[in-house]
């Protein structure tokens, strides 16, 4: 049926048509932006962290007796625990540390080059008080200078991440430079440290004994590929056997820690995906219900057209093309709503801009849904004999 005719008859039923277009437009705008947020969250979660997420386990422990939380008892306990952990088959390395990477917040300190505080100060960079196997556990690569060894224990020698070194020293060789936290002896590849510091890829590593454990400490374990579950099951018992007077938290794998960091984004994205599904469902229910109600009128009209010589296929096409045209017009407005909503959301939350293909894909999706919903009543209408449909009651 001609576009012209369909538009004319839509204009005759202004209110119903306006309602229909409005719901189509807003649905399209919402679905597209929800999908955008969902994909942005996915990207955030899947960004490279510089860590082998499935091969690192972490567990927070705290001695229950105050005496064991200070030196020298503390270091003694930690050595025993690490020795026991390193014996577990599948474990490649293990080390203690004051805090783990891939967290929202934690302990951090300002760092600057000595005598250049005003120019080089970084307000907050996480610092790791740890031991010699840490580089093996993290899986970092040496970029400059050397890694820390046992000999560096208790000194103020530092290893920085590459991004932090560049921030502090720009193009100069960082090795040998002096900072307020110590002297740089090496630079390693970046890894995701803390989300809410000056930069998530900043970190400073230092070898010191744990010194105090009022907040507990972390044990980090690197396992061979595929061994994380096997090791995880044994880990708690091994630690407890090494020293019973311990509070041992849940053992986490690094990817689970990562999910915690981005939990809010993931949560929102899931919520919006659910909502998008609901919206499409509502659109389908609406299209079906609308067709259902208009079935009687549709049947009559279909009967008249058949009496005038339109074939079944022709009439079915007429009914569907009215749905399609309405959906397409609604979708046209919908694209405007898309961009408008995107701009509004961008004021509240970080959301990527709308790529051209996404609204078009959603329009196709909408058309499919509406066709599906309208198909059944339309089919029934064409099956009825025109004689019945045109009968005067």
């Amino acid at each position: 049926m001609s576009v012209h005719l369909i538009i004319k008859s839509l204009l005759r039923r202004k209110v119903v048509t306006a309602l229909l277009l409005l719901q189509l437009a807003v649905t399209l705008g919402l679905v597209v932006n929800s999908l955008l947020l969902a994909s942005a969250a996915k990207e955030l979660v899947e960004q490279p962290t510089g860590l082998a997420l499935e091969q690192i386990l972490t567990v927070r422990v705290k001695p229950t007796s105050a005496a064991m939380r200070v030196e020298p008892a503390l270091s003694e306990v930690i050595s025993r625990q690490l020795a026991a952990i390193r014996q577990i088959p599948g474990v490649e390395a293990a080390e203690y540390t004051n805090q783990i990477p891939l967290r929202q917040g934690g302990s951090n300190s300002n760092i600057f080059e000595t005598d250049r505080q005003d120019e080089s100060n970084v307000d907050s960079a996480p610092y790791y008080n740890t031991g010699s196997q840490i580089f093996k556990v993290l899986g970092t690569k040496l970029v400059a200078g050397r890694e820390l060894t046992e000999l560096d224990k208790g000194t103020q020698n530092l290893v920085l991440t590459e991004k932090l070194a560049k921030q502090l020293f720009l193009e100069q060789n960082p090795v040998g430079k002096s900072t307020n936290q110590g002297t740089v002896v090496g630079v390693v590849s970046d890894f995701y440290s803390q989300r809410y510091t000056s930069d998530p890829l900043f970190a400073a590593i230092n070898f010191v004994p744990m010194a105090r454990a009022e907040m507990g400490y972390q044990l980090m374990v690197r396992v061979a590929p595929g061994q994380s579950e096997a090791v995880r099951q044994q880990l708690t018992d091994v630690i407890r056997n090494a020293e019973p007077e311990m509070d041992i938290s849940t053992v986490m794998r690094m990817d689970e820690n990562r999910d915690e960091v981005f939990r809010s984004e993931i949560g929102l994205a899931t919520l919006l995906a659910v909502l998008s599904g609901l919206m499409l469902l509502v659109a389908m229910i609406s299209a079906y219900s609308h067709a259902h109600f208009h079935a009687l009128q549709m049947q009559k009209e279909v009967g008249i057209k058949r009496a005038l010589g339109a074939s079944k296929a022709r009439v079915l096409l007429d009914v569907l093309s009215e749905s399609w045209l309405t959906t397409a017009i609604g979708a046209g407005f919908g694209i405007l709503v898309c961009y408008a909503l995107n701009i509004s959301l961008a004021k509240v939350i970080s959301i990527p801009a709308v790529p051209v293909w996404l609204p078009l894909l959603t329009v196709v999706l909408l058309l499919l849904c509406v066709t599906l919903a309208t198909w059944y009543p339309a089919r029934i209408a064409t099956r009825i004999s025109p004689a019945t449909a045109t009968k005067t009651l």
Binding site: M1, S2, L5, K8, S9, R12, R13, K300, E301, G303, I304, K305, R306, A307, L308, G309, A310, S311, K312, A313, R314, S385, P386, A387, T390, T392
Partner: protein
């Protein structure tokens, strides 16, 4: 022009079998104005529907303009209906959302005429029925008689071979009914064959042939001259 041989139509439900038409034989020639009367339930509407290919039939054969309709596909049947037959219903059956112009134009679109050709035919049809001034009106703005005239215009715009009218004046008062009948007579004089179902014997007398149907069987009763127009 229309030839029916031994045609039967049976309506079947789970419990009942109704023989609406029983082995009917009928021939309507070109240019005839035939009236079809009968008591209610006699099958006259069914016969009209079968003639219009709106209903199928169970036995016998139907030749429309020399061509058998048996075994035609839906597409062929629709095309046949579109070209050869014009319908006029008791309830007018105009499409509410369309203007008069669009209503009359609709069957012409199915025919595939060009836009200019369609326009020409619609305007001519509106002239014939005397509603040219109201081409952009909608059916709800017209009286019953006017609506029926639109329906007639729609039926003749494609220059069909036969007009099938099912109680065309059933919903009209006597004045409008007379106007519609005069219009039909005029169209018939111009050469269009008309088969009209009616239960009004006066109308039946205006036709030049009178067919009676009782219990699904025909009785061709025209044996007298039609009364003069206007009587």
């Amino acid at each position: 022009m229309i030839k029916i041989n031994n045609l039967s139509k049976i309506f079947r439900t789970d419990l009942i079998e109704t023989h609406a038409l029983r082995q009917i034989n009928l021939q309507v020639n070109e240019g005839e104005f035939a009236a079809l009367t009968g008591p209610s339930g006699s099958g006259k509407s069914t016969l009209l529907n079968v003639l219009g290919t709106l209903e199928s039939f169970d036995q016998g054969d139907y030749l429309l303009d020399g061509r058998s309709v048996k075994g035609l596909s839906d597409r062929e049947l629709s095309a046949l209906r579109n070209e050869k037959i014009g319908f006029i219903f008791q309830g007018f059956n105009l499409i509410k959302d369309f203007s008069l112009f669009d209503n009359i134009e609709l069957p012409l679109r199915y025919r595939g005429f060009s836009s200019a050709e369609r326009k020409r035919r619609v305007e001519q049809a509106l002239e014939t029925v005397g509603l040219a001034a109201r081409r952009d009106y909608h059916p709800s703005q017209l009286s019953g008689g006017q609506q029926q005239r639109v329906a007639i215009a729609r039926a003749i715009a494609g220059e069909p071979r036969i007009l099938l009218a099912d109680e065309p004046t059933g919903n009209l008062d006597s004045l409008m009914a007379r106007q519609v009948m005069e219009l039909l007579e005029k169209i018939n004089q111009q050469g269009c064959t008309i088969l009209m179902v009616t239960h009004d014997p006066d109308q039946a007398r205006r036709a030049n042939r009178h067919i009676q149907i009782v219990d699904g069987q025909l009785n061709d009763a025209t044996m007298y001259e039609p009364l003069a127009a206007g009587a």
